[in-house]
């Protein structure tokens, strides 16, 4: 790695070649203000706040997008730079509504923070708001164009990270906005509801559709308001992230406190999606072993736990639909089981149970109504999905002192989980969990070491060859939808040439890092944060007594008592679904 010698504000530094001025300044303990910049993205350089000067040049440079050059001397702050930054900020504020108190990002907003830092007391320019109606057409997200500062992060995420291309700049000049192309609603666009746009938005312009009111209604005390029985499930990735809203570090596991908090909120039963992740593995591993041993045309098998990914594939890769695992996602499996198996035990009907799931994900809201299979219990299997962010707000509204809660356990019969279930929340986790059980299904034996390190980590595409007692299984794991296309293209190319398929099993998660980096997680996710959250899940896995799904006693029980065998007719009715090709644009 070559190094370059530069000066920042007169002081010499040596930094790695290719470092941006922004990062070089950071190494020199100087923070240059930014609004559009995000470490996940190629600098789009739109906001104009990070401008710096270079000695000997009449121009200004964008610190985020400019690499340092040998021998150069940069000035990050002087009276003129600060003045220009402030004016630019004031210009941005002149077309931004001042309704911070009523905004979902109040106290967690990058624009608000900058405004405070620059001591903005008055904006000298005419307020020029634009009256554009919100887009609330999808089940998952709200686009409040009025608040948009046009930083471009969402469009970049949608196009470059997710390859979805639902969001695009439309119009020009002052009328420019980011919205679905051709002026269609988001619901009619290719949007897959992953919510990465909302996770990257620096302000309150894109956010999850808030459904906490529906849950509050059902949770009304002592069952006086409702005859519904509120039950809840929490997804794997929630436990390592919700703590961030209460002062914990990313990755700190708060499962026990979360169970306790949910009971305090008023849920009558607290289940864990990790349990149904184990259930998913039973079905999916069975499906894989069947397809693999029979070498059917539906290889490679592709995981289907991620609703944004389902939406993507149904829209973009029609040829691959047959490769999808028909197993429902853990959320939907738990919903179905809660309203059948559990309902039977508490002598309730499906209609009487109100299933809330806490998810790191905005697409999960859409998944509950994806098709009729999502109502296999006779009622809608999952009634309301709250994102991690929504739950954090509810807990605060309820005045729950999260940090000081005693730890509690989940309720049986849908609460016990293995280490395999918990790692579902990280990229590679579903693959790893499936392999642990598939090994057992093929060989009748358990693995000595259950760790598959090759499929862990934040590389966009991870490929590995797994040895099941002499039989090689080729697997690929992709996260961030843009990486998926690489894997699918490889399969398509082999198919077209009649060559041996490159993979037998593919795991896909739409969001970078998997669900730990989900679109419904607390704001501020970067690779560092995602890695920490994932590490939390792997720690949870290591500490688990049982680390393979088929070893979960509640899983064993549910098959014994209720479902029969994995892949049985009953299991198919309740735990499996189907897919269909759909158009990119509905209009």
């Amino acid at each position: 790695m070559s190094m370059v010698n530069i000066k920042i504000n007169g002081t010499p530094y040596t930094v790695k070649s290719g470092t941006s001025i922004l990062d070089a300044a950071k190494e020199a303990q100087i923070n240059i203000p930014t609004l559009c910049y995000h470490p996940d993205l190629t600098p789009w350089a739109s906001c104009g706040l990070c401008i710096v000067k270079m000695e000997g040049s009449p121009k200004t440079f964008r610190a985020c997008a400019t690499a340092v050059e040998e021998g150069r001397s940069y000035i990050t702050h002087d009276a003129e730079i600060v003045k220009v930054r402030k004016t630019t900020l004031e210009l941005i504020l002149s077309r931004h509504p001042d309704d911070c108190l009523k905004c979902g990002r109040n106290q967690d907003c990058e624009l608000q923070r900058l405004s405070a830092e620059f001591g903005i007391r008055e904006v000298p320019f005419e307020k020029r708001l634009r009256d554009i109606p919100k887009d609330e057409s999808t089940a998952s997200l709200v686009f409040d164009y009025e608040k948009c500062v046009l930083c471009g992060r969402c469009a970049e995420v949608c196009q470059d990270m997710q390859n979805v291309w639902a969001l695009e700049f439309i119009g020009r000049g002052f009328e420019t906005r980011v919205a679905a192309a051709a002026g269609v609603s988001m619901a009619d666009s290719p949007c897959v509801k992953c919510g990465q746009c909302s996770a990257h938005c620096p302000v309150g312009a894109i956010y999850e559709k808030d459904e906490t009111a529906k849950v509050w209604d059902v949770l009304c005390s002592a069952g006086t308001c409702t005859e519904l029985m509120p039950v809840v499930q929490i997804a794997p990735a929630v436990r390592v992230a919700i703590g961030e809203s209460f002062g914990y570090n990313p990755g700190e596991i708060t499962t026990g406190k979360l169970y306790a908090a949910l009971r305090k909120l008023g849920f009558k039963a607290v289940f864990d999606t990790n349990f149904s992740a184990d259930l998913t593995i039973m079905e999916e591993a069975t499906e894989f072993v069947t397809r693999f041993t029979k070498k059917t045309e539906q290889l490679p098998l592709i995981t289907s736990c991620c609703p944004a990914w389902i939406d993507y594939l149904e829209k973009y890769d029609h040829d691959m639909i047959a490769h999808f695992s028909t197993a429902k996602s853990p959320q939907q499996m738990l919903g179905a089981m809660a309203k059948t198996y559990y309902a039977d035990q508490v002598k309730k009907s499906a209609k009487d149970i109100f299933m809330v799931s806490i998810m790191p994900c905005t697409a999960k809201k859409f998944e509950t109504i994806r098709n009729d299979d999502m109502s296999s219990s006779g009622a809608q299997d999952v009634d309301v999905v709250l994102t991690t962010r929504e739950l954090a707000r509810m807990l605060k509204q309820a005045g729950i002192d999260f940090r000081n809660l005693p730890e509690e356990n989940a309720d049986s019969v849908l609460g016990n989980y293995t280490g395999a279930g918990t790692i579902f929340g990280a990229t590679g986790g579903v693959m790893e969990a499936a392999l642990r059980t598939a090994y057992n299904f093929v060989t009748g034996e358990d693995l000595k070491s259950v760790d598959f390190n090759d499929v862990r980590g934040l590389d966009g595409v991870k490929e590995a060859v797994i040895d099941i007692k002499g039989t090689k299984v080729n697997v690929a794991v992709a996260h961030g939808l843009v990486n998926v296309q690489y894997v699918l293209d490889k399969v398509a190319a082999a198919k077209a040439k009649g060559e041996k398929l490159p993979y037998d099993f593919i795991e896909v998660m739409a969001c970078r890092g998997g669900c730990v980096g989900g679109g419904g997680q607390p704001y501020g996710a970067t690779d560092e944060v995602r890695a920490k959250r994932a590490a939390g899940l792997y720690t949870d896995d290591e500490k688990s007594v049982k680390r393979c799904s088929h070893q979960n006693p509640e899983i064993v029980a549910i098959y014994d008592k209720y479902l029969g065998k994995p892949g049985s007719e009953k299991a198919h009715h309740l735990l499996h679904t189907h897919y269909k090709a759909r158009k990119l644009y509905n209009k």
């Binding site: 739109s46 104009g48 005419e126 046009l150 020009r172 000049g173 420019t176």
Partner: protein, 597 residues
């Protein structure tokens, strides 16, 4: 057999829109009617430049320069001039000395006297749709020279010697762009021509392409050989249909002649050129936005570095030059860099094409040596100000430029001097203003354009431009306050320093420049509610001076909104509430009985 006559009909867009094609067809028909088609060739050429006098028809060998021709004149031109050999005197261009003026190449006509045509060397001379005519005037000789006897380094050296700088506006040394691209690593490289001219009032590149398309094709091919590229792309706006049409013909003919395509001139060098049509967004003239547009993306600028020379089209090293820059190349190769460098000033060599418009007598397309003064352009070439009014200022650089005032009429025009005056060379729009132009209104006009054309990407341009326009609008409506001036300066600074590209970075120039030279006009608007040019309607008031009004009723009859009433032969009155301040009464009154204030 030598032809008896050549009839050249201007086929530039200006003349075309004044029925030049009909003139061309009519002349051809008449020639055929007289069965003279074997003796007379009728040619449609590129722009003659003297647009004020268009449509232009020129007949050789007599050098008869016919101006303001209409289709009905065809009969007389053929019957008199071609058949009988008698010039049609009423159509001849006559100079200030009442003498018949003819050959524009020999500078017989005052409009052409101080011009120096390198870029426009073939415009108005050859049929741009016939490659043979281009070749007959040394066309493709430079390409032949380069491919058969020069090394790429020598080409760059020659261009370096010439001192040629980018004619798109910024004036970056052309040889450096080529050299960077040549030295950049890449299996594939591209040559791009920026023909996305879009300044209001500018048509230099359009005319060059319409009048001499091969000059650009030849230069791009030379550039391809020099930097190691085999593909060229011309990005041209779709609203230039004639230029596109002629380029398509030129490309096809060049391919047919082995001057484009595989194995050019048998040298083994391959080079192809394709057209890419732009949708007319001004920002796509910015090179990174242009490249994004070619790639099929929305035309929005990207930060530089990396420069296109290193990472351009499809991330490959790319030379991107403007039409006029390319049009200089072949001449430089043939006549040598030293020859080219002998024209112009110390740092600005060669010539510059300007679209001279506004309040001058002779508007048109002109090419002048660098270092010429604005006075020479406006008064010698342009023939002075229309209607004998007073020169107030000229705007160079279009919406990105600034004004040059009467005090600086004698400053030699080159890149450095214009910048010193607070303007820029730009691509060559030159709009002349007189005492009837309000400078606040002028700034507002340009801001209106850049606000509309902002791509919307970066905040300083998108919001700053809109706010700046809003303040100018407020001032022209008589609602300005002193703090608006400070705010305009603040916004302008932010736009200059923090805009991502030069569309936003230079958009405040008209404001900064008019504030610098005409602050008093701004203050008059704000403090006295007065627009001295009588341009800002909200500040205007027409009143009838009772003493002078004879009650002739002309004003009342002409008023389109019936705001004027009064009995015959008695002083009239204007109802201020009804008056729309159109000024018709003011112009109509023979007794100067209407005041404008």
């Amino acid at each position: 057999m030598a032809l008896k006559n050549y009839v050249l009909v201007c086929g530039g867009t200006g003349c075309e829109s004044s029925k030049a094609d009909e003139i061309f067809q009519n002349i051809k028909k008449e020639i055929e009617a007289h069965k003279l088609q074997d003796d007379v060739q009728v040619i449609k050429t590129g722009c003659f430049g003297f647009c004020e006098q268009g449509p232009i028809v020129k007949i050789l060998p007599e050098e008869s320069f016919y101006v303001q021709v209409v289709p009905e004149d065809a009969k007389e031109i053929v019957a008199e001039h071609i058949v009988k050999g008698r010039e049609v005197k009423r159509l001849l261009y006559v100079g200030k000395d009442d003498k018949r003026k003819t050959d524009f190449n020999k500078h017989d006509i005052d409009f052409y006297q101080k011009q120096y045509r390198i870029v426009l060397r073939n415009c108005g001379v050859i049929n741009p749709e016939n490659i043979d005519e281009y070749i007959a005037r040394e066309g493709y000789a430079a390409l032949d020279k380069v491919l058969t006897s020069m090394k790429p380094e020598e080409v760059i050296e020659e261009i370096k010697k010439s001192g040629l700088r980018g004619r798109g506006g910024a004036g970056f040394p052309t040889w450096m762009k080529w050299d960077f691209t040549k030295k950049a690593e890449g299996d594939v490289k591209y040559i791009v021509c920026n023909a996305d001219e879009g300044d209001p009032g500018a048509y230099m590149d359009r005319s060059t392409l319409e009048g001499d398309p091969h000059s650009v094709l030849e230069a791009m091919t030379i550039a391809g050989f020099t930097v190691g590229a085999n593909q060229g792309l011309i990005y041209i706006r779709a609203e230039y249909p004639l230029a596109i049409h002629r380029l398509e013909i030129a490309i096809a003919q060049a391919k047919e002649y082995g001057l484009l395509g595989k194995n050019i001139l048998g040298t083994g060098f391959d080079f192809d050129i394709e057209l890419r049509l732009g949708a007319g967004a001004f920002v796509c003239g910015e090179e990174t936005a242009l490249l994004a547009s070619i790639e099929g993306k929305r035309g929005m600028p990207k930060p530089r570095p990396p420069f296109p020379a290193v990472k351009g089209l499809w991330d490959k090293p790319t030379v991107i030059n403007n039409v006029e820059t390319y049009a200089n190349i072949a001449v430089i190769i043939l006549k040598g860099g030293d020859w080219f460098a002998s024209i112009g000033t110390e740092k600005s060599k060669g010539t510059k094409v300007f679209a001279l418009t506004g309040k001058v007598v002779n508007s048109g397309l002109i090419e002048v040596p660098m270092g010429i003064t604005l006075r020479e352009i406006v008064f010698d070439i342009g023939g002075g100000i229309k209607g004998g009014k007073k020169f107030k200022a000229a705007q160079s650089g279009g919406p990105s430029g600034g004004v040059i005032t009467a005090d600086y009429l004698d400053t030699p025009i080159d890149y450095e001097n214009l910048q010193k005056l607070g303007s820029i060379m730009g691509s060559g729009g030159l709009i002349v203003m007189d005492e009837d132009d309000c400078m606040v209104d002028v700034a507002k006009f340009y801001l209106d354009f850049t606000v509309d054309e902002s791509c919307g990407k970066c905040a300083p341009c998108r919001v700053g431009g809109k706010q700046l326009y809003g303040l100018l609008d407020k001032i022209t409506k008589g609602k300005g306050e002193m703090k608006d001036i400070d705010n305009m300066r603040e916004i302008s600074l932010a736009m200059q320093k923090a805009s991502l590209c030069q569309l936003g970075g230079t958009a405040p120039n008209p404001v900064i420049s008019t504030l610098k030279y005409f602050e008093d006009e701004y203050l008059e608007h704000i403090n006295e509610g007065k627009c001295r040019a009588g341009k800002c309607k909200d500040l205007m008031k027409f009143e009838i001076i009772t003493d002078k009004c004879v009650g002739c009723t002309v004003c009342a009859r002409k008023c389109p909104v019936n705001a004027i009433t009064g009995e015959k032969q008695k002083p009239h009155v204007i109802d201020q509430k009804t008056c729309i301040k159109c000024g018709v009464c003011f112009e109509a009154c023979k007794f100067k009985a209407i005041s404008r204030g």
